[in-house]
Symmetry: C2
């Protein structure tokens, strides 16, 4: 297969270079490659066909970005770089902001094979090599992907296969009952064990290279082993043993918590749930089970600490789960370059000597993320949100990359390397995460979003709900005390982090209100009170968006109209959203406290 | 037709008396009757067949309740006593808490003719004589009740007809575009005028006694004349002229307000909307247009003042709209005898000399209410909620009845007249409205409900939304100032009421926070502060529900098990709901103010 089969990021690739020389590199790691240039031209060495493909993409990227091959070996940090679609067979995409499903419609598999091929190329060019097409919230309809809809899925798998992408199927833990007609889905029941084994045999006959199954169990009203008095390991292992003969794996999500909490119960603390449920089970999962752990203990909020479960288990395979779709981060209306947040996540300490980044490829053997793509013409709704999909793939391959490097590459590949365009756009994207945080919920405050849809502010929308999502703001203080004197959540961390987080004066300020309950007059390092900081950031956030609009407008002559206009429309919507957030949050705290802005700016009464 | 055709309320009627004598009473009013008893037996005089039917029901009720016919003439206060179903053709019932639709399923008319006959008898026995089967939020599917689904609807109409119930169809104002393929629904466009005329001809050919059309226009994203630069009168009149040749009428809802308000806009005040939109148009509606006006200016809240629009127009036909389905009043989980609230509504002054009751049959020529029925075996989910359906029919016939009279009759007809059962149950039902108000939102505070579904508390769930639903509570005060110094809403009332409402010291206390913004230390007539009153009522409300449970349990030996057990289950759920409301509202205000309960009861932090 020549490299022309491997199209460059975003259908680019005009001015293709001369055909490179492909060479065997048996000592190179799987999927890895070495790209060199000598007098005869370009050379791509690899040990396998996948490496040849990734090398080809890399060469094209080099050429388009005007870089020289540096001769070093490039190989992925983890063997599994996974995209999770939350697509329902109805065609709706849960938390999707880019149109409808690329794969499903009205209960059937329904797609444009040409577009799926483009999509597979797009994903593989970013380094993604595993894709789950159906939602982890498996409906009775999509449960049937392992029964009568299997032949259709096998056809889709065949489109992804040339791009070295293996499919994963999200399955319903209750399938033995739902599909098999058994009276129970108890994982220790022989009939259930047999049913899963047969199901796996059938699935692997149709899709022999299927990567495995993804499961959301005992989570938000989904079936799971706990309901049957079994452990999470019992549940995962029955599936693992079914797929093992076929080389398959199980991805078992750790998003298990009490979603029917009583707000009056101040002992239960949702962030503690994943660790409490899974850490004691370390070592009891089969080798082909990977626990898929969200990066933070809440749910893809704008600012959370890293999950203490990540890396804590030494005898259990783990995947970090990120969210590319912008459920809580602007829903592809607001600009939000997730690479910046992910770099922060990876750079954060997990102990006195290690960062989260150092766990990738070690304790954390796989990277997964929820897709932000749909059937919109530009894949991601907001054109600049393509950078988030790209960034996930790049980081999963090489977690040492900075957001600046990744976004700079993405802009270069997408819009060209002209500095007059690239530098301002890069600046805007790099600051976008901080800007969104400013005008929404700074200092680690979570859940001040509108219920259900999660766009826009509702400071107490989740305050008395059953979801375990409380900030308990009163007229004097705000936040949940998660120290040893409070819920004790901090004690789940490495002692190094415990010491850091327990002390409000040492705690990273951006996480202050995640860990502490503080009065509004708490003094930050800037000398400002906590309340004044809230006011200031909200005013600043709106100013930032105004600046984004000006920057974007200034770039108009350098941008294709097809990119310029839709983004300009979204920036205008973002400005309205930022103003709404500014005013609601400032008014909310002003009403609570009666303390005016020290700079006399307008806060609604 | 003998009276045995007219079954008694709730399928009762064992021990039927000897066949009465029916006599012509040409001087009696339409639908009216006179019931007498002499040596030969019972006599029912009436001027028409409907009167004969209503008289038969009355006789059965008399006998079952152990009353003597008093020989007086009974005739309805208004000729149209209307039930509005909010049933969608999918089978879902908007704000329905009693199962699915009795009439529709999966996009089609789908019903049990026997059950519909029972239902028609049930309604007519309460005095209801007009029924709209489909939701005022007309979907594209239900819009087709006036096109291809018309023959099916005509069959349903035939089941209601013997019970002197005429159907109404809710139509989409955009039908000329949606169904007719016209480029506009502009009511002054000749093609639109022609389209509606033809539609009416077609509909009346199929259902010659159709009462008319019901329309929700320019309301909550529905099509309407305003979008085309036309008045509400223009919109209503085009329909009125189409049905006029057939003797039809139009019911035009006045629920028109800005549902995309910005909470920062303190000038716009949703309660003012109906009056502002419709009062200036008084006299410009055709004679066969009835404006259907919700009893209060908000939306069927637990406590609202009466709408100032009701009775204000002297040259426009008006209907009062009530809501039997308990959207904001407990959703047929919590016990809530609406008759009590309706008696209050009717007893309230509209001027220095008249009550709302005196308008019924005068300015207000029709009574309408949103149905609480569905395909649950007991019709209304909560068995005791049957009393609300019954009460609406009774009050529409005779607004001078008290809640006590109506509920006493309902209990007698349903469970028998044994005082040991009747008195305690009557007491419980009579106090249920006050109890619900206590544990939810006293003093006229509205909208502290969970968004979308409207069950349970969310004190700020609607505080920053676009629905015009704000209480603007801060750490010192709560409520919207609707006096002349505020939004001026009170100025829409008769001067007598203006004077009453403007002055917080004279304003009926139960409406204080509907009209005034008051500080938490405002002194009520009881000597308590406003805040302490809030705390007290919330604690009392829960105690009341506990008492209801005790009362109900004490009645167990006197009740059929089929009635006892399901109500007991609902009372237990009500208790949980009451506790949730108590704790959320008390905590909400405690957090805002830091002021503890003077009696030291537990308020969560």
């Amino acid at each position: 297969m020549g490299y022309s089969e491997y199209d460059m990021w975003l259908q680019g690739g005009e001015g293709l270079p001369p055909e490179p020389c492909f060479a065997a590199g048996p000592s190179l790691p799987p999927e890895g490659f070495r790209l060199t240039q000598d007098a005869e031209g370009f050379r791509i060495e690899s040990a396998d066909e996948a490496g040849r493909m990734y090398g080809s993409y890399a060469l094209q990227a080099c050429l388009k970005l005007g870089k020289q091959p540096d001769g070093s070996v490039s190989a992925p940090a983890v063997p599994e770089r996974i995209l999770n679609h939350w697509d329902n067979l109805t065609g709706e995409v849960e938390r999707g902001y880019s149109g409808k499903s690329l794969f499903f419609k009205d209960g059937e598999l329904y797609y444009d094979p040409g577009r799926i091929k483009d999509y597979a190329r797009l994903l593989s060019s970013a380094g993604i090599n595993r894709v789950c097409l159906n939602n982890v919230n498996v409906t009775p309809l999509s449960a049937r992907l392992i029964t009568d809809k299997l032949p259709d899925l096998a056809e889709l798998a065949a489109i992804f296969r040339p791009f070295h992408i293996k499919l994963i199927i999200a399955v319903d833990f209750g399938s033995p009952v739902l599909l098999g007609g058994l009276p129970t889905a108890d994982p220790l029941d022989d009939r259930v064990i047999g049913w899963w084994a047969q199901a796996a045999d059938r699935v692997y006959e149709a899709i022999p290279d299927l990567a495995g199954f993804l499961v959301k169990a005992d989570s938000e009203f989904r079936d799971g082993p706990a309901a049957m008095g079994r452990t999470q390991a019992d549940g995962a292992n029955v599936l693992a043993r079914a797929v093992k003969p076929h080389g398959g794996k199980i991805w078992w999500r750790c998003f298990v918590y009490n979603c029917e909490q009583d707000w009056r119960d101040t002992k239960t603390d949702r962030p503690k749930a994943a660790y409490d449920h899974f850490f004691p089970l370390d070592g009891s999962f089969d080798a082909n089970v990977t626990l898929q752990i969200k990066h933070g203990p809440s749910d893809f909020q704008v600012r959370e600490p890293n999950s203490p479960l990540l890396g804590a288990m030494k005898h259990t395979a783990q995947a970090m789960e990120l969210q590319i779709t912008q459920e809580y981060t602007g829903q592809q209306i607001d600009l939000y370059a997730l690479a910046v947040q992910w770099e922060e996540i990876l750079s954060a300490a997990v102990s006195g000597t290690r960062t989260m980044r150092s766990l990738i490829g070690e304790e954390i053997g796989a990277m997964a993320a929820v897709a932000n793509t749909g059937n919109d013409a530009n894949w991601t709704g907001h054109t600049l949100a393509q950078a988030n999909l790209y960034a996930f793939g790049r980081l999963a391959w090489d977690p040492s990359l900075t957001a600046k490097e990744i976004l700079s590459d993405w802009i270069g590949l997408t819009f060209g390397t002209e500095p007059a365009l690239r530098e301002p756009l890069l600046g805007m994207m790099l600051s976008s995460r901080g800007t969104y945080e400013k005008y929404t919920t700074p200092l680690g405050l979570c859940w001040m979003v509108n219920v259900h849809h999660h766009y826009g502010p509702s400071p107490e929308g989740y305050e008395f709900s059953k979801w375990g999502t409380y900030h308990r703001a009163d007229h004097k203080a705000v936040g949940v005390d998660r120290t040893a004197n409070g819920t004790g959540y901090i004690q789940q961390y490495h002692p190094f982090l415990q010491a850091l987080y327990e002390d409000a004066d040492r705690c990273p300020e951006e996480l202050l209100l995640y860990f502490h309950r503080l009065s509004y007059d708490f003094k930050l390092k800037s000398g400002k009170t906590l309340l004044q900081h809230i006011y200031d950031t909200h005013f600043e956030g709106v100013e930032d968006v105004t600046d984004f609009m000006k920057t974007w407008e200034s770039l108009k002559p350098l941008l294709p109209e097809s990119a310029y206009a839709p983004v300009a429309v979204r920036l205008a919507r973002q400005l309205e959203n930022a103003k709404e957030w500014r005013d609601v949050i400032n008014t909310y705290f002003f009403r609570k406290t009666g303390i005016p802005d020290s700079k006399g700016r307008h806060i609604y009464r």
